[in-house]
Symmetry: C2
Subunit: 340 residues, 2 copies
């Protein structure tokens, strides 16, 4: 016999399929004797319930879809790790989707997830506005996405973080402070925090856009070119990068040009993952609370799923809205202390 099924267990134990199901799910009244018989049969046959059949009947898959640009990136890697661990503890399995920031891929992944009857979705891909998604048929929670419309959005306090970091740099006496980012946009809160801090201090913002899909080599060249070109009368004194990878490029530039850090050149990054912190312990960074973001996202999602299941007029205030979690500025050897 191939995989034994519930009916085989029933036959072997001399009871009905219903009873086996009851034992399995611990539902209703069962005599201890029946229980024992059934468990014995299960063991003897090496029976394992078929989750697919169960899902079909229950109309719940206990699966959550995760859509992120790529787990090859430390921030998303740590985030997905945290999300998966928490969801597993809550009894969910996770289907992983690397969208690569390609809208079309993201679309296909969404279709696939719905086809698989996922109980919910957590997405951190930026490739398109969530609000414009087709009819979503399961609770969805976004992590740091723009324009999430009716869906909850969990994110770090990007504005406060960048503003604080930039103000620190200004406080050290730096005047020419460059912001490196992947995509320039009015919506970009990290960019806004930086710009507002500079403007408030009477300084003028400078941006360098490196792009998400550019190769690491190309990004490096762009940055080196920029920094080299400005080494004249008004050299860049500090870089505030919208992620730690960009910050590390600036650091590498300084090292290769023998520019002293932090005396002549300061650097602050963004994200503050464990991975980067271990590899580059001196890098100053705005630290996102990854664990807290994951915890909140999972909580919001499981609550939404519960609300949907109960059916009793889902409380409208549980949906939509933004959860903004505080970041911390971690100083390090790549910045100077603020002047007294």
């Amino acid at each position: 016999m191939a995989q034994p099924k519930l009916g085989d267990v029933a036959a072997r134990a001399g009871v009905s399929p219903t009873t086996v199901s009851r034992v399995l799910n611990n539902r209703g009244y069962l005599s201890q004797k029946t229980r024992d018989k059934v468990f014995a049969a299960i063991r003897e046959l090496g029976y394992r319930p078929n989750a697919i059949a169960r899902s079909l009947q229950e109309r719940r898959s206990h699966i959550i879809g995760l859509i992120f640009p790529t787990v090859a990136h430390p921030f998303y890697g740590e985030m997905v790790y945290r999300l998966e661990s928490r969801l597993a503890n809550a009894g969910y399995r996770v289907i992983l989707c690397n969208s690569d920031e390609q809208p079309e891929l993201e679309h296909r992944y969404l279709d696939m997830l719905f086809a698989h009857q996922v109980d919910g979705i957590i997405t951190g891909s930026h490739s398109q506005a969530v609000a414009q998604l087709p009819q979503v048929q399961a609770p969805l929670v976004a992590i740091d996405r723009p324009e999430t419309g009716p869906y909850p959005n969990i994110r770090s306090d990007n504005y406060a973080g960048t503003r604080q970091a930039t103000e620190h740099l200004i406080g050290t006496g730096a005047r020419r402070i460059l912001h490196i980012t992947s995509t320039l946009s009015e919506q970009n809160l990290r960019q806004r925090g930086y710009a507002d801090a500079l403007t408030a201090a009477g300084l003028s913002p400078d941006f360098l856009e490196l792009g998400f899909h550019e190769s690491s080599e190309h990004q490096r060249n762009m940055l080196y070119e920029y920094l080299d070109a400005h080494r004249g009368a008004q050299p860049v004194e500090a870089v505030f990068a919208s992620n730690d990878t960009y910050a590390s490029l600036a650091l590498a530039w300084a090292q290769s040009r023998r520019v002293q850090v932090p005396e002549e050149f300061q650097v602050i990054g963004f994200d503050g993952t464990d991975t980067v912190h271990t590899l580059l312990p001196e890098l100053a960074s705005v630290v996102q609370p990854i664990e807290a973001l994951a915890e909140r996202a999972v909580r919001r999602l499981t609550e939404a799923i519960a609300a949907e299941t109960e059916e009793d007029a889902e409380p409208a205030d549980a949906r939509g809205g933004e959860d903004i979690l505080p970041v911390t500025l971690r100083l390090g050897g790549t910045v100077r202390p603020a002047r007294g």
Copy 2:
């Protein structure tokens, strides 16, 4: 009406469910007129097939389980990213499991995956010998695991890589070369390559075991303590680490002690992920061919699945055995060139 089902489409199009199914799967002879009617009905109703029901019927889930210690680690993050992308292209979805190197967790994940009727499993967790797994009911491919028994094992040439790296260090004139590893063991091929290279040169191996579950802080302290304690007459001249994270700790030590790299102290790591290479471009490292490993693992797995489906006496030589892929030694600013 909630989600429309296949029957609803049939009713709307004025045909039988079978016909709708045929149109959906493009099977058998269909008149163009019927096709059009059905497609129209599908569009009008916004119908989407239920993958769960399909899986139950087909007895195939089109899902692959991935078990790795943690995608928060750059090596596994990049590996999982690559595996997922390739599997998605091949029409599979991926359930992600972070085993954290805990045997019990891994066990539970395996049970869960089998319950979900996965078509196959790729595992890179080291937490227990695959050979001792309970009856595995789907094709399984291992990536760099010890003792995989009857299952294919895909791995880098750990021995050649470590041997080559160690010999390079010896060639630069280094005599006291420390090997940092997570777990000392006779089976450990990275350790063996290192030890054999030293022995062949008449030098004596030195090991430092840092453990996998220790905190990054603790690991750092252990290493610093060791290196500080040996700064007397016979200081450690070079470190060969079994992964790049450990290598970065050694680098940080040198920097904090003002020990010149590579003049007084050399470092080579292992893995050579894109992430680490971007963050620490000067770090020399034995580079694993992650893309090739992923490609091979997916190929082996899909072949095994195909073989199982065909049922025709699976060719025994397709199962088991090791695929060993070549590594490359990437030199960098943390090592000296070999002496003429």
